[in-house]
């Protein structure tokens, strides 16, 4: 897409370009993060002033306005070309600890849109909860951490941002204090997360020991001349892969995902499996392309990390899809499908080679897939939130005949399922198509073949949900469907509309993503 906007754009849009009449000061590039932080603090203040108010409409509105502001700012910056090579390159702040470029803004937009859907839907999910203020502030502050994670370009900032995401997530998973499943999931998530964080920070310390710097650009420079310390750096890189695998729910640290997504409140599952996973991929993309770039040095050391990711991608998508096929509960099936999609997105890191001609294309396609996935997966989990709210049940059999009592939401769920499976008329098809095509063009046809085979398998279990909703006869359990939660309905419908609208609007998305990814390889 053209980066130089016509003069109809306001002068403010020229923020980084130093070409417009009045460019914004540099710190405003952090605007999306600041909007989320401000919303989080405002939520705490609101809860301080009215601690005993039981309705959560106002909280929901504050959180939604904050995340919409972050979405609008990042969308505006993306459209104006902030941080692109054409407008003066990436903006670095705080002595290069933070870099705002296309990648950061793209993933901030994903996180902000998922957060908006989740906070709106939570209004009905937590309608009779005693302390809703905590929930909203934790969600919004975790989203701020995710946006920061996408723009962090120093290993120290990355670790702090990672913890900013993790700590609220543990509390959110265990949010239903009276529910045994929720508390158990929170404990499991915390234990696995604490171990992964420890391994990750150990990896950072080894990389720092070998290179003498925490800044990604300095690390990359030092990797050319490691000498005896090559082995130390190699172990560090492998340990950091384990940390990313935890955040993105990929093999080998994927086993927490089914338990946690099943036990957590459904909006939190949606938030973690879409936004948190996307943020994990954002930082993995940045670290591995900027610090440990495949320019020969790392390979000379002995870590061909693209090969590691190729193995992990194949194992992750196969394991996720096969396990999803044998589940009896819909939420658990979606959790395994989320692992499978992490495998698809890993192709973005696996199917690249030093000097490959389509490196930017395949990583950009992976980013676009995470964008579409953000809508369709969030929507699917929010549909489950609605079913949980009705108290219908959790298994495929319990979903029988839902189409007769809630046709609109069921149509939306059908869209999500077919889009997740990658059927042609929906957004999921295009992102997968570009991803596999990029892998083939870059010479990794076998990765694309495994991905395509897995997509065929996934159609089986996704269509089970559709069959239960529309074809099977209604059961008595549907008598529980008595209310019409407006906000939840709205969020599900908006997610479905977004999944379909991506169809004509996919051009700008994939172009923005590919431009952002190509800039990383530049």
């Amino acid at each position: 897409m053209s980066v130089q906007q016509p003069s109809t754009v306001e002068p403010l849009a020229a923020l980084p370009a130093q070409t417009g009449a009045a460019p914004l000061p540099e710190w405003t590039a952090l605007g999306p993060v600041l909007a989320l932080v401000a919303a989080g603090l405002l939520l705490l203040l609101w809860d301080t002033v009215f601690p005993n108010r039981r309705t959560n409409t106002e909280l929901s509105v504050i959180a939604a306005v904050g995340s919409l502001a972050a979405l609008a700012l990042s969308g505006w910056y993306l459209a104006a070309g902030t941080g692109r090579p054409a407008t003066g390159g990436a903006i670095t702040l705080f002595a290069e600890a933070i870099t705002i470029d296309g990648l950061a803004l793209f993933f901030t937009a994903i996180v902000a849109s998922v957060t908006t859907l989740v906070v709106v839907a939570s209004r009905d999910y937590l309608t009779d909860h005693e302390t809703p203020g905590e929930f909203y502030s934790l969600v919004v502050l975790a989203a701020a951490g995710m946006a920061l994670l996408a723009s962090a370009s120093s290993l120290a900032t990355i670790f702090v941002a990672l913890e900013m995401v993790s700590l609220p997530s543990y509390a959110l998973v265990a949010y239903l204090k009276e529910n045994r499943g929720s508390v158990e999931a929170g404990l499991k998530y915390f234990l696995v997360g604490a171990v992964s964080s420890a391994i990750f920070v150990f990896g950072i310390s080894l990389v720092y020991a070998a290179t003498g710097s925490l800044l990604l650009s300095d690390v990359a420079a030092a990797f050319g001349d490691l000498g005896d310390l090559a082995g130390v750096a190699g172990v560090g890189v492998v340990m950091m892969i384990a940390g990313f695998a935890f955040k993105t729910a990929s093999v080998p640290v994927h086993f927490w995902a089914p338990e946690v997504y099943e036990g957590a409140p459904a909006p939190v599952s949606a938030f973690l499996s879409s936004a948190s996973k996307a943020a994990g991929f954002a930082v993995a993309f940045r670290v591995f392309t900027e610090a440990f770039h495949l320019g020969g040095e790392v390979t000379a050391v002995g870590i061909d990390w693209a090969l590691v990711f190729a193995v992990l991608a194949v194992v992750t998508m196969t394991l996720g899809n096969f396990a999803a096929a044998v589940q009896t509960e819909v939420k658990r099936m979606l959790a395994y499908s989320s692992i499978g999609h992490a495998g698809y997105a890993l192709i973005g890191l696996a199917a690249i080679s030093a000097g490959g001609s389509h490196n930017g294309a395949v990583m950009g396609a992976s980013m676009a897939h995470l964008f579409v996935y953000g809508f369709m997966n969030t929507g699917a989990f929010l549909f489950i939130a609605m079913v949980e709210r009705w108290g219908v049940g959790r298994t495929f059999e319990d979903y029988a005949g839902l189409g007769t009592v809630a046709p609109m939401a069921s149509v939306a769920m059908t869209v999500f399922m077919f889009s997740l499976a990658g059927l042609p008329p929906f957004g999921g098809f295009f992102s997968k198509y570009f991803l596999f095509a990029g892998a083939v063009f870059n010479g990794f046809w076998w990765l694309a073949a495994v991905g395509a085979l897995n997509s065929v398998l996934s159609l089986y279990y996704y269509s089970r949900v559709v069959k239960a909703i529309w074809i099977e006869d209604p059961t008595d359990a549907l008598a529980a469907v008595d209310s019409r939660p407006t906000a939840l309905y709205g969020a599900v419908i908006v997610a479905a509309v977004a999944t379909v609208v991506v169809l004509p609007g996919f051009g700008p998305v994939i172009e923005t993503a590919e431009a952002a990814a190509t800039a990383l390889f530049g």
Binding site: L44, L45, D47, T48, P51, T131, G133
Partner: protein, 138 residues
């Protein structure tokens, strides 16, 4: 390489001497099992009860709030040290003061929220009170 041999020898001697002393004394000493030898040493006090008890979660809340001030102090100190020299060097006061005010302000929002939502109110649990009184009964 020779350095490592010395370290290895030191390690062997360091492990060998205590193990040897324990082994020799186990062979030589008479065996007199006695209750007093097996109790936990508590500075001469007679130990009462088990160490595996549940602490009131409110201690934890207070410790968390303390942490807010702790971190605040750690980060305020270097700022205080550079404040005057930076001011003399011509850095505008707003640039020096505003970031720290924002930082303290964020922490204050969190503290006030916790206070208002009852984190520092010392609630008494009826169940714990009942247990305590039962235990004190003769």
């Amino acid at each position: 390489m020779s350095d490592w041999i010395a370290i290895g020898a030191l390690a062997v001697v360091g492990i060998g001497i205590p193990l040897g002393m324990m082994g020799v004394s186990a062979l030589l000493r008479p065996s007199v099992p006695e209750q007093g030898k097996r109790t936990i040493y508590e500075s001469g006090e007679v130990p009462t009860g088990s160490a595996h008890i549940r602490f009131n979660i409110q201690y934890y809340m207070v410790a968390l709030l303390f942490l807010v001030f702790d971190i605040e102090t750690v980060l305020l100190f270097p700022w205080v040290v550079i404040y005057r020299p930076a001011l003399n060097a011509g850095v505008p006061m707003a640039r020096l003061l505003l970031p720290m005010l924002a930082f303290v302000g964020i922490l204050t929002v969190g503290l006030v929220w916790a206070w208002r939502n009852g984190a520092v109110e010392w609630m008494s649990s009826p169940r714990a009170m009942r247990r305590k009184t039962e235990r004190n009964q003769p």
